[in-house]
Symmetry: C2
């Protein structure tokens, strides 16, 4: 087991990464200080793992129960969140009750938001069971739900007590979900560590096959990068926004196609190719860098051609992005491989990028 | 104008108290840093004041719009909150948009919670227009909505940028609402300042008549007491819980009767009499102190006889109070006039208190 620390003063917490961890009572014990815990999971993950987590918490002498939500991004809204509140109140959950998020990013975001709001804040533990949530969404305290008019529009910053990333849970992950997680892994290399990016390129075959040793290394390095960024900028005043590389376009794809149609990671993968294309068009990166990124996204079995929502719809959707200010859309671009920055862009370049993105990206420079 | 400061480090903010303040652009200007503001009000307060606040914000060169909610505690739930989110998204509100809560406690709590959650947090200003919200709910950053199973169960701590308490707005307040606010004024004297309590006793007639000078003094002293408690214990780890004097019983009355049937302040007034009765029964205060409190609550035109919900229902409702831990109910009792503390109580004393509370409280000691 590797343990990293997210350094946030009195809100600091450990990330445990390894095998055989998710139902280890010794990892849960320090973080369940009241008399009960409530596990929140979904109907896919629950049948696989919830009984073991319940048993582990029960062995600590704590009262425990499980809430099972429907599975998928399309359920990440108020009505589902309210099922958590209903369960907490029916169980007599008090201010010291610990919530345990057992599942992927949707379960983690909703459980975290429920923990942020229930009685104005209770503790919670993240047990991410997908690659995407292990390398990205479980770390950093961003929680929330979607609104019909925008993704993650309603939420809170609420840090977990601990993150327990068990590589074993990735074995049962469908290939499409694994690929979606790889999008965030590639993102970490692209925005923060060119060597890591090269390592992913070299090992993409074994990573696609979910090689446990390589996957543990990827989870560790991605969590390090994320934890480092979050420690420097918890509330996204600056640096943290670079973690949204690919997300401005990606969120528009997800919302435009209807939540759940494209997986978040698929939209981010394609969104990164679009952002790299825009970076090239504006002269920040060369054609080789863009081509490397597109090739790696493709090698990770992720889409590189954007859905044709129409330019106007893309722009409308991107304007409700949380990074937008006074109606002007902010983009995360690459200055080089391993370094990203936040900027606005000229309308003409954005239009050209959107036009090109819906066509299979050619190898030549993206300056048409 | 008097200006107090709520001392919370980088979350500190001013409370301005006086006449002719609510539409003063110079008070609003420092707190609207983005390009737009959205006023949230209700259908009672909006027609009286919203146009003036809109004009004041407009005069600062900011885009401004107004969301009007239905009036009353019975609407303090998710569906109404979501009307604020809908409006913000339709207006293209970004992370720098300032929300302005123009109304009483319900508007303030919901607007504050919307500000806490919209894009994971935007700034907001409180312009409380009821006595209750001026002396209590607008100060301290508690925000939230009700759940059918419990009051204020879903919420956040989110401090405003400023509180603008304009005494002029109390002139249009119905007498019942004014009395409800007096409950919190009396509470502040009872838990923190015996001299203030005596001053309220002396001036209750003029306060009931909403004498502007006396009312300004009451708002000032109550805000001082509240600000002082909040500065010491923002997240209610200890001392702040004493501000809930009368609220354990009061919340049960509100929920048991159906939200909106009893005003919050009416339930708190009656709840304080019940808590004083329990304090006397347990030997902390003498019969004279209990009688003074009951007499002042009655003099403020507030109910002193509890509704007969049945003991079992009271206890069921009190167990979902946020202060409860592991099913045991916490009460705020008086040690003496001007000093309160948090405790659990023996079941027998609670039962006896509930039995006596539904009968007009007699003058003799409460130890039957």
């Amino acid at each position: 087991m590797i343990t990293l620390n997210v350094d946030l003063g009195d809100r600091s917490y450990p990330i445990h990464i390894g095998s055989g961890l998710f139902a280890d009572p010794s990892l849960l014990a320090p973080h369940i200080r009241g008399t009960q815990a409530v596990i929140v999971t979904n109907e896919t993950v629950g049948p696989l793992y919830a009984a073991q987590v319940e048993a582990a918490i029960g062995s600590l002498g704590k009262k425990v129960s499980t809430v099972t939500l429907p599975d998928g991004e399309s359920f990440k809204h108020w009505e589902t969140l309210n099922r958590i509140f209903d369960a907490l109140l029916r169980q007599g959950a008090d201010r010291k009750t610990t919530l345990v998020a057992l599942g992927g990013g949707v379960v983690g975001d909703m459980t975290g938001f429920a923990a942020a709001c229930y009685m104005r804040g209770v503790p919670f533990i993240q047990i991410p069971t997908t690659l995407l949530s292990q390398v990205d969404s479980s770390v950093g305290g961003k929680t929330g739900i979607n609104h019909p008019l925008g993704k993650n529009m309603i939420g809170a910053f609420h840090q977990p007590q601990a993150v327990i990333a068990d590589i074993d849970t990735l074995k049962t992950l469908p290939p499409r979900e694994l690929a979606a997680g790889m999008a965030e892994v590639i993102k970490h290399g692209a925005i923060a560590d060119a060597d890591y990016f090269a390592w992913i390129e070299e090992n993409i075959g074994a990573l696609n096959a979910c090689d446990p040793e390589l996957m543990a290394l990827a989870v560790k390095r991605s969590c390090e990068i994320k934890a480092n960024v979050v420690a420097q900028d918890e509330r996204e005043q600056g640096l943290r926004a670079t973690l949204n590389f690919g997300h401005t376009f990606g969120h528009a794809i997800e919302a435009g196609m209807g939540y759940g149609e494209w997986l978040h990671g698929e939209a981010v993968g394609c969104g990164m190719v679009m952002a790299a294309s825009l970076s090239e068009r504006l002269g920040f990166i060369d054609v080789e860098t863009r081509a490397r990124l597109a090739a790696l996204v493709r090698a990770a079995q992720l889409p590189v051609v954007a859905p044709d929502l129409g330019e106007a719809r893309y722009i409308e959707l991107m304007k409700v992005d949380k990074k937008a200010e006074a109606g002007s859309i902010k983009f995360i671009l690459l200055r080089k491989l391993g370094e990203a920055f936040v900027t606005t862009v000229p309308d003409a370049d954005l239009h050209a990028t959107l036009q090109r993105a819906v066509i299979h990206p050619p190898a030549e420079p993206d300056v048409a």
